[in-house]
Symmetry: D2
Subunit: 337 residues, 4 copies
């Protein structure tokens, strides 16, 4: 770490900084930086917040030399993490498609959609039994009854199941019925939930928060890895910006950025990322071309009757056509889908 000191610092003020460094078991060395005097600090661990040095009257700026290389970092684990569920693998170079409706609505609807996405080539089925909704008066999901329907879908189709847990109670249930536990955007910094999720034996799909930087997203994953669960899939799903043509701004540049920094697989949700089904195929193709390890796509057999998010759901024909396009694309990119 380097501290850039203010011009005209006195010896006493510099002494305060050195004292604080000493308390933290850091070695301090004064360096003539030309336009500024610098204090180079070496050693110590990173359990303190480097920003705290800014409280000293003499310190103008703190420059951290590394990002503290946590368990999520590619510096710690250079090889990409591959998540295996039976014969299925996520993150090993191929592309996995997760598809299904926003919410479990009924056994018939759920199974019908599951058959569509299985035939289309999806390997994992998504559908919410617990739905975090902006308004308390909106449909909140079927709860455990929904999870049982999902378990039946797995038995009948062989598809793996991912579904969202919203709190400790629903997490216990989701762990029991699903193959992958989803933590949604609104809970990305619900650290208590992340810790409990990290103590389950199931892989975690962690959606990016609407205003999360990549560092914050990776640190949220770090909470899970730190509990012993290293099977984490990151999911970019759009961020909040001024740009009002879509529901969120899908930040596809996050895909190569995450791959530089972390060994974890990263997938993309073009349904939430655009908010309009007509734009989902374009952004699904773009995500694959950008190097995403998978897609999460909303599909409904009757989008116009969906209880939530129908407007961003593909219908069966739309999904089948998209999968056809994606397979051609994957071939050109020399990956499998």
């Amino acid at each position: 770490m380097i501290l850039v000191l203010k011009n005209n610092c006195g010896a006493e003020e510099i002494g305060l900084v050195k004292g604080k460094a000493e308390e933290l078991n850091l070695q301090a060395e004064i360096i003539n930086g030309g336009s500024r005097t610098l204090l180079l600090l070496r050693g110590g661990d990173y359990s303190f917040d480097a920003r705290e040095f800014l409280t000293l009257p003499c310190v103008e700026r703190v420059v951290q030399l590394d990002r503290g290389a946590g368990l999520v970092s590619r510096e710690t684990t250079p090889q990409p993490t591959v998540i295996r569920i039976d014969e299925l693998s996520i993150g090993g170079g191929d592309v996995v498609v997760i598809a299904g409706p926003c919410a479990v609505e009924s056994p018939e609807q759920t199974l019908a959609i599951a058959e569509v996405v299985r035939k289309g080539g999806a390997k994992i089925f998504r559908a919410g039994a617990f739905k975090p909704r902006t308004s308390p008066y909106s449909f909140q999901g079927l709860g455990e009854q929904g999870l049982k329907i999902l378990a039946d879908v797995r038995s009948e189709t062989g598809l793996k199941i991912v579904t969202e847990a919203m709190d400790e109670a629903s997490l216990g249930l989701v762990e029991k019925y699903a193959d992958i536990i989803q933590i949604g955007s609104r809970n990305m910094q619900n650290y208590s939930l992340l810790q409990v999720a990290g103590r389950t034996g199931k892989p975690i799909l962690l959606k990016r928060g609407m205003a999360a930087t990549i560092d914050e997203w990776l640190m949220a994953a770090e909470y899970i890895l730190n509990e012993g669960q290293d099977q984490v899939i990151l999911c970019e799903r759009g961020v909040r910006t001024f740009s009002d043509h879509s529901r969120f701004t899908l930040d596809l540049g996050a895909v190569p950025a995450v791959k530089e920094l972390s060994h974890l697989p990263v997938i993309v949700d073009p349904s939430h990322g655009t908010g309009y089904r007509g734009r989902v195929p374009a952004m699904a193709r773009a995500a694959i071309a950008a190097g995403a390890d998978g897609l999460m796509i909303e599909v409904h057999n009757h989008p116009d009757e969906a209880l939530s998010d129908g407007v961003q759901s593909l219908d069966p024909v739309g999904f089948t056509n998209l999968m056809h396009e994606l397979r051609r694309l994957a071939e050109a990119l020399e990956i499998r889908i």
Copy 2:
């Protein structure tokens, strides 16, 4: 609600829209809107998501005529809500100052700061016992031991206590020891936590999420009111934008905006909103001048030794000077502080 139809819709397609309206118990009337045909929908409740009409092939846009006027709305409750805790009132026109350190660190530190803020004129003490931190390796708070220290501070100083609950377990404890339960920005859309908070008997201080619109913030409060707890204080604390001169962009325009829409009191946290103690006085004065019902300010007796957020904490002299300024300002604005 008005549906703007696409040009060249056929009778059959319009029939589909009318059918969906009927299912939702809405009356539909076709209107010639000049450049567009419109379908006016009347009646029904607002438990459905109006966006769902967009799934129909014929519907170009949905225009909601009102915001659905929930319990938080000024349309429902025209008079401002005043929250009373013993002799203290929040939201009745006067300004309440909440102050204290970021975190409870020790009994001595906490009591020393409490004395400073009490003498300065603060009526409520803030300090975290449970700290949501970006990194799992940062100081996470003293837990229940911290809450006990806060209870002692109340006994010794008479200050009311507000402190953050991060999950259901800590909420049970915070409810036991504190006067006001804080829900932090990262949990603003942790709806399960909001519901549990709404079932306590204690007032709730609800911080705005970093990327929350005002509608989303008010709907988060609606989750609490819907559980029977109508004592909610909103707190603006800065939002995420491209503007990188401060830690967050303090959106002071939210103060008059919230007051137009809701009867709930709204306070401002200039410490998180700027991230630098040197700018806290300017933004604290600005918040009061903008009509905020209160302030939440970080104060530390030794900011350079604080375990977290020292860089945005005022020291005792800084806080005392600020309170002096604020009292002069309040006089000019004909309010009490």
Copy 3:
């Protein structure tokens, strides 16, 4: 247009609104909207700002029923605009690659890079002779001397030339030497420059402003079309957001969004959109997969010696490899590149 009136408007207040409508030659009709009274306005042109009705005490909200369908709109011109420069066409379904260095630095550098990009398959050469730089002390371009070098490049390679005009003076020169005139992001709302550009006989490449909505971007193009020049190419190059992993946030969702609204071709600049050469290939592939009509890519023969933006420039090998990938991708997408 629909005006949503406030509750409890008196007849006199509604009379004021009708009076204003009359002045603007609009027909007004009162409609019972259920929870709100509405005033439907038909007819009139759209040279007034609909927001102005908000000045009347009785008007709560203004809902415009169409976007006013300008010359840029797909409603006005359903067929995609194809821009033809000799045998080259942009917007007709195939993908055009524009490549070259950030700035013209010398005849040798410029020609060497031009040979590289021509061999790689680019059809248009880009390089700035006039450079808008954040600091007045940065390299500002070679001016007319640079334009002459570009004209030589065209003679020697057959590549078409696109280069930026910053003001009326440079626009006169650029028009003389280049095949396409670029208007940069910082000048997207320099309406005087857009009008002058619209009166040249040359196609215009209009980059999106860093904080421009799609409506504003299209209205900027409207300024050009309104002067008689309908050969406009839109270029998405990243917008300003909180997301700090890249220089800008490349908003690829703008590609399908623009194609829904406008007949103009839209290309993507992944070099500015990411700011790091290592991420350019991923986002170039993604742009093509999302349906962009072309790419604008920075290439330098010695990126580490470039006078500007070397860090986001591909080197010759990188560019050649990318073109190879893009050709495979184009084949899978059944388009030509």
Copy 4:
């Protein structure tokens, strides 16, 4: 400047970096930074873009030790700049109020409003003769005829005049008639216009761009100062964010931030910053309390008939009441208005 090197850089790669430093007349010294090797560079001027070192394969990050301290910097000029126009001064601790309509519409309207604002206590009159409008079909201002009306207003009221120049042609005219030349947000990075403005003898009011960081805003001012004109007034007028309750997000935290970095006066435009007249008083008061050197406020005698921006204009009574409030506030803050 410090270059943070990648782990495992070879001697040859480090040699490349040293070579580039030498070319730029910088002295290079290798430093053991603990977790990273550093290269400290001293000397040289700042006409190169430090980011260019990132093009070298061995360089991970560039840390600039100072901001290059331009003419706008408080490091260069510690004393606040005071702009004097006859007996009027801006930036010397007192608060100046600029008020008037969005646009000059007619001699009668303009003079009537001028009388209102003069009586209210404004010292400078604002009104646009050249209007940059999003749509080419909106009212674009009266041009030179409008400027003549403004000159008459000055003769009759004694108010100083500020009005916007949009391009070189209008700047020549504005210079002739006005006391202060305004450069609008859309032209903040129209560097050619800034340079021409810097060569006039008139003070320049430079509005912040909608997506400009403070560094970019100050560098835009630097373009003006670099031409010899050091009389620049900065104006915060709201930035683009996701927050949709107001037209723009007024970034009042920019006021103390600019004052830390620069000696130039900074004023605030709460009319554009909120977009709704009902919120203008709150944010005007807040701006003064935050330490702004002045306000720019839209006032119209008949806001409901204004040709533009009536919805954010105060009427005469509203303005007079606000000035009364501001004077009380100024007294409490021990400044004059």
